[in-house]
Symmetry: C2
Subunit: 485 residues, 2 copies
């Protein structure tokens, strides 16, 4: 198939986009990213000189990365070529080395960000809604292989999308008309049309890693499957379809599980989240991180799995660390993702209104912050088996010979108790709180129930051995913390 046909087919089969990105028509301005290398030069030639798009509706964008002495000559070559073909051209220079240093990025990543930002600027200046790049099928195979080696989800196996959002400027459309065309076709086209491309200096993607993939790993893999490039391209196509479907499901699930969202935090409904299938429990957590940190390019598998584990089985108040300073905290019936330090609201957990102890009558109720209450009632019949079977951390049954002296209050400095089930050993309350992963910010007003001698219940976690209900217990009090509103 000739290169022109590849582009025609690409445009004819312009992939249906859920977000309705339309195929640029003859009246639309299109920015073409041209480094001056064979891929982008051939793309510009096909578009402008083969009647695919009106030349006066194209704008060449060339970014000089300031990395090599030859870069200025390349910029001049691109500008001249564009002029000869009747295409407008914008050349800019960016000190990518300085950018990488200032932003703490790799050269590769800094170059990538600079290029996309430049393309978005040119598109905005020229009123273009779409940007075309010369990525081809061999680039695609390498990209899929790279994600296979280093990625952490199936999404990467799609490689580059034929049509999608421009990174950093999602309202603009990035499209890659050569994405299914082999590199050979492009080189043949250049030869046939006497194009004299320069070496692709600004193509920062052609780094050491990618070069090794191309020149060492792909030939080695061909020893296991001679069609390895096709296999990678097919995998990209399969993954693109599957991931599109999974993302549609994610969007549905997200509206179900998202309860509240703030500037730097969000809260999910835990019960609804738990009811999701495994794949969506994972992808909603990934998505939550991405909503809070859109610039983050990937979240590692282990990180997601740890957060999922915590969200599924963790104690209330438990916390799991996420990338970019975020954490997930397990709430009573929700999951909060927020910056670990900062103005994010605390998760919705029982908190005392202040440090003052409050008497707890039995039967009786004490109001806590935000609609939470503690209710105390006498148990009429003591069924030991039932009491031992209690799994609800917000309910405690305690043996209280003298209920008159009960209070609810915060822990006292240095206070100790004997958590039931720890062999009668005494432990500092604060250490138990830390072990149980109650967040630091929640500890000072975390409620405990006590009598005048000792702690009886560290709410949500342990009762004291001295409050344990036995066969000889005469008077059992049921303590129940619940959110009433």
């Amino acid at each position: 198939m000739s290169l022109v046909r590849w582009v025609q087919e690409f445009l004819a089969n312009w992939p249906a986009q859920e977000d309705g990105r339309h195929r640029p028509g003859a009246a639309d301005t299109v920015v073409v990213a041209v480094s001056g290398g064979p891929d982008s030069l051939a793309l510009l030639h096909v578009l402008a000189r083969q009647g695919i798009h009106p030349a006066d509706k194209l704008v060449v964008a060339h970014l000089d990365h300031g990395l090599r002495p030859s870069a200025t000559a390349e910029a001049t070559f691109v500008a001249k070529t564009a002029a000869a073909w009747g295409v407008a051209c914008v050349v800019e220079r960016e000190d990518v080395v300085a950018l990488a240093r200032d932003q703490g990025l790799s050269l590769e990543e800094a170059g990538r960000q600079a290029r996309y930002a430049f393309l978005a600027r040119v598109a905005a200046q020229r009123g273009a809604a779409a940007v075309a790049t010369g990525h081809h099928a061999d680039d695609q195979a390498e990209t899929v292989l790279m994600h296979f080696l280093r990625g952490s989800s199936l999404a990467g196996l799609r490689g580059m999308l034929p049509v999608g959002p421009l990174p950093g400027a999602p309202h603009l459309t990035l499209f890659r008309p050569f994405l299914e065309a082999p590199r050979e076709e492009i080189l043949a086209y250049c030869q046939e049309h006497d194009l004299a491309p320069v070496e692709d200096a600004s193509n920062m993607d052609t780094t050491f890693f990618r070069n090794r993939l191309r020149h060492e790993l792909l030939p080695a893999l061909a020893g296991y499957n001679p069609q390895i490039r096709e296999r990678l391209q097919h995998l990209a196509a399969v993954a693109a379809g599957d991931v599109e479907l999974l993302e549609a499901l994610l969007r549905q699930a997200w509206t179900k599980v998202l309860r509240e969202e703030g500037a730097d935090w969000l809260r999910l409904d835990r019960a609804r989240w738990l009811a999701l299938p495994l794949a969506l429990r994972r992808s909603t957590l990934r998505h939550a991180v991405w909503r809070l940190r859109p610039a983050l390019r990937d979240v590692g598998f282990v990180t997601v799995e740890q957060a999922r584990q915590m969200a599924e089985t963790g104690q209330v108040g438990g916390q799991s660390t996420l990338p970019a300073g975020l954490a997930l905290v397990v709430g009573y019936d929700d999951l909060t993702l927020s910056a670990m330090a900062g103005a994010a609201p605390l998760p919705d957990l029982p908190q005392l209104p202040d440090e003052k102890p409050q008497p707890l009558a039995v039967p009786g109720r004490v109001a806590l912050v935000g609609g939470w209450q503690l209710a105390a009632t006498f148990l009429e019949r003591v069924e030991l088996a039932e009491i031992q079977a209690n799994q609800d951390p917000w309910i405690a049954f305690v043996d209280v010979p003298d209920p008159a002296g009960l209070v609810i209050r915060p822990r006292r400095p240095g206070e100790r108790f004997r958590p039931l089930g720890m062999g009668g050993q005494s432990a500092r309350v604060v250490e138990v709180m830390i072990n149980r992963k109650i967040r630091a910010g929640l500890r000072p007003l975390w409620p405990v129930v006590a009598n005048d001698q000792h702690l009886i219940w560290l709410v949500g976690h342990h009762i004291d051995e001295r409050g344990r209900v036995t066969e000889g217990s005469r008077q059992v009090v049921k303590l129940h913390v619940e959110r009433v509103t």
Copy 2:
């Protein structure tokens, strides 16, 4: 983590199975596949000697593949070890070379099938519902890599499932307690417990290809990602979750699109199929092939894409070849998958009841087979633009000066006509039928409309130039083939 802990964790986290495969309890008999190599020997030791499962509820199954002289000694070793540990043991011998030859299989595939069939037999004889194998995390990494190199869908990237159906006997459960344990752990365990495994002669998976993966490719990939084995294991875990969800969607979609199913054919509702997202259009076609040919292990990407293309955009009667002697045929409003030759019913397309020409009155109707009818009416007003805009292949507008002589009949031997749009050239009807991919079995009774001089309409495909409606047409007949019931 010790090997015993890996197994305990595996059993504690027994993956929730949609099909409800339960974890074998102490009262259940479990078959353990033991080659005598380190993996399976350690598995037997952990299960029988570490209190994981009662030894008298285990059955060792050892298949001698008859490939090497040492095989008998290995069988004896396994039988002796089982006896020493108080575990029943079944040894069988199978001539895998002969099996491969007789069935036209590779040695690897023949060995695999023989092993699973043997395990199913032993399980049935001993009343066991579950079979355990010693596959470990390094096997898993290699399996994922193998599918990455050669597979054709995401499903292969799951590698082996921790718990799943035994191939060929899906009512039996195959589980792999070591699947997340690294091989190192197993070797260390063997040393620690003075186990003296034999070389794994019956492990046919350890073929040349797999050995090259293990000893050459994986070390090479570690140069690109030192954590390549973990990466592959994580990919398997991610893919397992995603594929589980996609398969649930496939099951839903399948009940929507399946219209009828016979012994060796099935028919899908085309409109409903077309309304599915891309990923499900692909997976339903894959699934359809699998339902007709359950033994087929994979359907290539290109095959699926060609069938999908035909099903999406193909002419009625068009056919696409599928593996194992199957084909997909596009019907009027359905898609039929069936054996190309054989007793499969023909797709539901218009067919004459017999070869006898029938007069066609205007206005009038002629009944075809299976609820199809041809209706002929005069057009009251001739709107040329409307006629030219007609896209429905089952409607034709023809200029018929003398409607009295119209008939509907099969093509005649050697008959020719002048298909409209082919530059006035005459063509053999049968060749046009072949070009339009009308299946051979449908051609003899495919209806054509004709007058006493020439063919007027090859139903569903072309009208004759001589019936073309022009601005000068005085009398236009609308011919409409439709399925009425």
